[in-house]
Each structure stands twice: as structure tokens, then as C-alpha cells.
């Protein structure tokens, strides 16, 4: 219990602080802070599986995409949908629900999809697992891009009601809390045991496959939730948003912060987001004691260089894979 206060409290506090700051600043910066909240949710979802199981997944953005598209399409006014996406499945075409329910359904869809995918795929580990989950991402992207029954294909999905920062913050806090409860639960500990030594875990009677499947499904549900938050934050999406760039950036945020801890996931997402938005502003001149104007394109180079440097110089990430503690051990 005494450990739980800083371990869970500090990440939650950071999320709430981000939402608070987002209230007192300009419109564009507010969008960036809200985006940072969503990134925290996605990276935490990714952490639940990758961090606890030690198996890398390139497929989580597909669960984000499914959650985002479902939550987005269901909250668009049916009148608009008849006009912009007439060939949708009837259920998707006629339904119209509120934002909270759409987030819940997004999470459910992400969880179901992850379970279905995990059922065969969780037998794999190492590089084959990475490539197979990547194949899932490729299929999801391909289908969302061309199948008119599930979405507006390559066109943008727009007119989605946008949520305020507190909805996003609550959703993100839920993701953090669920992730924490899971990692402290029996299931979380069993999955961590399989990460440390699969052979020993198996010898102790743990089904590696089953524990990975549980983690993968939960992680997929959180990714679906994060996708719902994402779509309500942006108000407008295209399939390209949910492909290589997002996959890479979220994985890099996780490794940057420290793949082994929830605290690392939250910190990595916030630090990279902050750096990203600062450099984006600096390309249009920013005042930091003096006027700073960076040439266009330096943002990407700097972000890439910082992520590469931290990963190369400190492969265990900023937090070294430890949870937040009040005392510094060792």
C-alpha cells in the first residue's frame, strides 16, 4: 500500500497536471497538450503488453485504429453518414451514440480484436511475434484504406464531436489505473515471470500462452479506449494516421521512458510530446529569453536524434525500468 501511493499517484498526478495546464494556454498549445494526454493513453496500453511480457508488438496501433474508427463512426450524425459513407454496414450507418458509450465500445472492440488476433499469435515470441503483429497492422491498414463497409476508406472521417480536456484526462487516468491494477494483480505477476525466464515460468506451471493472451487482450482493450480518445481529440482522422509513424513514435516513447515500468511509459510519452510541441512552435518562432526560430524540418531531426541517443546511450530508458519511488534505491 505504501508503495502504491507514489507508484500510481505520481503518473496520475502528471496526467492531471497536463490537463490543468492545457486550460490556461492558447488554442494551438491546448491541442498539443490534449494530444499528449492521448499519447500517454496509447503508450500505457502498449506498455501493458510489451512491458509486462517482454514480447515486442508492432500491431497495437491496429487496436487503436479499430477503437478510433468505431468510436468515431458511431458518434457521427446518421444524416451526415448517409451522405458521406452510404455503403457502411447498416448497424454503423444508423446508430448514433454519445461519447462515453462510444469510448466503451471502442475499448470493447479493441479487446475483442486483440483476443481474436492473440488466439493464434501468442504462441509466437521474439522476432516472429514482432513480424506477425506487424502483419496484423498491415492488414488492418489495408482494409481500413479500401473497404467501404467499415469506414470512409482513404477519405477523411470528419464531423466527429470533439471532447474537452477533462474527458481525455479521465480516459487516460482510467488507462493508467487499469494498467497499474493489472501489473500488481496475480495475472500481471505471472506474465512478468514469463518475461524474466520463460522456461522457468513454464516449469513452475505457468501457461506462457495463456498469460500472454490475457495481457494482450487487456492491452488491446486499453488501446481501443485510447483510439476512442484520439478520435474525439482530433475530430477528424484518416487511415494513414494509424500506421507506421504512430507505431514507431509510441514504441520509441515507451523505450525512451523505460519499457519495464508504467512510470516510464507515462514519462516517455509526456517528455517526447513536450519536446515535439516545443520544437513545432520553435519552427514558427518562440520566445525563450530570446527569439528562437528554427528552420522547418529540424523538429523531426531533433526528435529522431534525441530518441536515438537516449535509446543508444541508455537502453533501459530514462527510468531504467523502475517505478517511481520516494527513496532512491542503490
Amino acid at each position: 500500500m505504501r508503495r502504491a501511493v507514489p507508484e500510481l499517484g505520481v503518473p496520475v498526478l502528471l496526467v492531471v497536471l497536463t490537463a490543468l495546464i492545457a486550460g490556461g494556454i492558447s488554442q494551438t498549445q491546448q491541442l498539443e497538450f490534449e494530444n499528449a494526454l492521448v499519447m500517454v493513453a496509447i503508450v500505457v496500453a502498449l506498455y501493458v503488453f510489451v512491458g509486462n511480457s517482454g514480447v515486442i508488438s508492432f500491431g497495437h496501433v491496429s487496436f487503436v485504429a479499430v477503437g478510433a474508427y468505431l468510436a468515431g463512426i458511431l458518434t457521427v450524425d446518421p444524416g451526415t453518414k448517409h451522405f458521406t459513407m452510404p455503403s457502411l454496414f447498416p448497424v454503423l450507418l444508423h446508430s448514433h451514440i454519445g461519447t462515453p458509450l462510444s469510448l466503451l465500445l471502442g475499448a470493447a472492440a479493441g479487446g475483442v480484436y486483440a483476443f481474436a488476433v492473440g488466439l493464434p499469435l501468442m504462441r509466437l515470441s521474439g522476432l516472429p511475434a514482432g513480424i506477425a503483429t506487424f502483419a496484423v497492422l498491415g492488414i488492418t491498414y489495408n482494409v481500413l484504406y479500401y473497404w467501404q463497409k467499415v469506414g470512409p476508406t482513404a477519405q477523411t472521417l470528419s464531423d466527429i464531436p470533439e471532447s474537452g480536456r477533462w474527458t481525455l484526462a479521465v480516459g487516460t487516468v482510467i488507462a493508467v489505473v487499469v494498467a497499474y491494477l493489472y501489473q500488481r494483480s496475480r495475472f500481471g505477476r505471472l506474465l512478468r515471470a514469463t518475461r524474466e525466464d520463460p522456461a522457468a515460468a513454464r516449469a513452475s506451471g505457468i501457461s506462457v500462452y495463456r498469460q500472454r493472451l490475457v495481457g494482450f487482450t487487456l492491452s488491446g482493450a486499453l488501446a481501443g479506449l485510447a483510439g476512442g480518445l484520439y478520435v474525439h481529440q482530433l475530430g477528424i482522422i484518416t487511415p494513414t494516421l494509424f500506421y507506421l509513424d504512430l507505431t514507431f513514435v509510441t514504441l520509441a516513447m515507451l523505450v525512451f521512458g523505460g519499457v519495464g515500468s508504467l512510470w516510464g511509459a507515462v514519462l516517455g510519452a509526456l517528455v517526447i510530446s513536450a519536446l515535439n510541441s516545443f520544437l513545432g512552435d520553435a519552427e514558427n518562432t518562440v520566445h525563450v529569453g530570446f527569439r528562437l526560430t528554427l528552420p522547418t524540418g529540424t523538429r523531426l531531426v531533433t526528435i529522431g536524434a534525441v530518441m536515438a541517443l537516449v535509446i543508444i546511450l541508455r537502453p533501459s530508458g530514462l527510468t531504467g525500468g523502475r517505478e517511481f519511488g520516494l527513496r532512491w534505491r542503490r
Binding site: 493464434p120 522476432l127 492488414i139 520509441a252 524540418g297 530518441m307 536515438a308 543508444i312 537502453p315
Partner: protein
Amino acid sequence: MNWGQAIADALSLGALYGLVAVGIGLVFGVMRLVNFAYGELITAGAYVLAYTSGWPAPLAIAACFAAVIALALAQERIAFRPLRRQGASPAAMLVATFAVSYLLQAIYLLAFGTRGEIVGTLGQLNSAFTVDGVDIRWILLVTTVTGALLLLATALLLNRTGIGLHIRAAAHDFRTARILGVRANRVIGLSFVVAGVLAAAVSVLYTVSNPLVTPTMGVPITIFALVGVVVGGLDRLWSAALGGFAVGCVYGLFGDVLSSQQSVYLPSVVYGAVIVVLLLRPAGLFAPFRARQVERV
């Protein structure tokens, strides 16, 4: 529909991806590192060719090789050697190569812009000759022959020379090889040089058919080759090469056979097949049977 044409296209695309697969597989064999930034070597070579289009072809190609080999060595020296020293986890290594790939793309974007450049070197190889009603472009022939020769040369280097023996020893068991006196940095450096030579060759051959060079052109090449490598079997060079060749062939073949209406879902079909192969044979399609169930390191 012309089957001869489709097979000719498929063979040359297969040879190209076979080369990329060997480049990736070679480095993986020695370092246990999947270099996701491999495609950016190819992109670098293509940019060099684009900016030297006015030069005589041999000079431009030499410049391309020099630049790509230098970049391959720089990747190893600056990024992957420090990681190896710290004994980073495979996941961190993989994400690090992602980061390097992202960084290089950002640099290309900053330096050369989004619009893309056109490569003119060796453009004359696009002209065709006709055999039995099949139009064969010279480049198809050149690609297939060069690919086969380079694969043969790599195999000879690995199997018939002293340093090749060292590379194979390191690929088999890196720690023991070091104890027995194999110089780690030399072996790894050399495998990056060979990988760089293969990447440069791919830049030259690829840009003849696809002359537009953009900052992200290397990404799909890496992805398809990597899929091929894993499907074929990472642990052996020839199975990796065969996997890359197979994926290239399948793509070339279906790209010609299917109409554009059907071919939009081609990636899904290929990825689906990849998943099935990985589930049935996680060690790869061409790997030997009776793989060990549990591996302790």
C-alpha cells in the same frame, strides 16, 4: 495476360529482394540485430545517384557504393556498437534501429525536401528486346544476373575465405568465437561492409525501374525484405535469401496478374500468408525441421 512477362518481372523483383534479404540476414546472423535502418542505406545510395546523374555512369556508381558503405559503417560505429557494448535487450536494439531509420529519413527530408529527385544513371537499360513476344527490359536481365552473381560472391566470401570463416563462427556462437580469437569488431565491421555493398547494388538496380527518390522510399523495401527474411528463416543466409526472393516473386507475379481492382487487397493476402507461415513454422519456411522448443541463453 502474358505469363512470360509476369515471370520475367517476378524473377527480377525476386532477385532484388533476395539481395536486400541477404544484407539484413548477414548482419542479423553476426549481431542478432535486425537492422530496420537498412532501407535508408538504399535511399542514401539513390540520392547519391540522383545528384550525380550528370556524371559518367561508372563514376556515379562508384560514388554511390562509397557513400553507402561509409553510411553502413557509420551506423555500426555510432549506433549499434555502443548498444552491443551495453548488452541491450533485443527489443531495445530493434527500436534503436527504428530510431536510426526515423532519424535518417528526417535528415533526408530536411536536406532534400519532400518533392523527390529523379535518377537518370543507366536509364538506357529500360529499353527492351523481344523474345517470343515477351518484352524483356535489359534491366530485368541485369538485375537477375547481378543479383545471382552477388549472392554467389557473398556465399564464396563466407565459405571459402578466412574472414568468412570468422563471420560464420561469430554468427554461430558469438561469445565462443571471441574466446577463440575472432575479432568481434572486425567481423561485425566487415559484415556491415558487405551489407553496404549489397545495399548500394540495390540502389543502382532499383532506381533504373523506379527513378523517383523520396526520403521514405527505403521503408517499404525494408518491410518486404524483412518479411521475406523472417518467413524464409533468419538463421541461415540462403534461407533468408530464398525468403526474400519468394516474397519479391509473389509480389511481382500478383502485381502483373491481378487487376488493379483486385490487387488493392494484395498486401492483406501477403500479410495473411506471412502469419500462417509463422504459425506453422516459426523458425522459417526453409529452416530445418526439429527446431529446439526452449532456448536458454
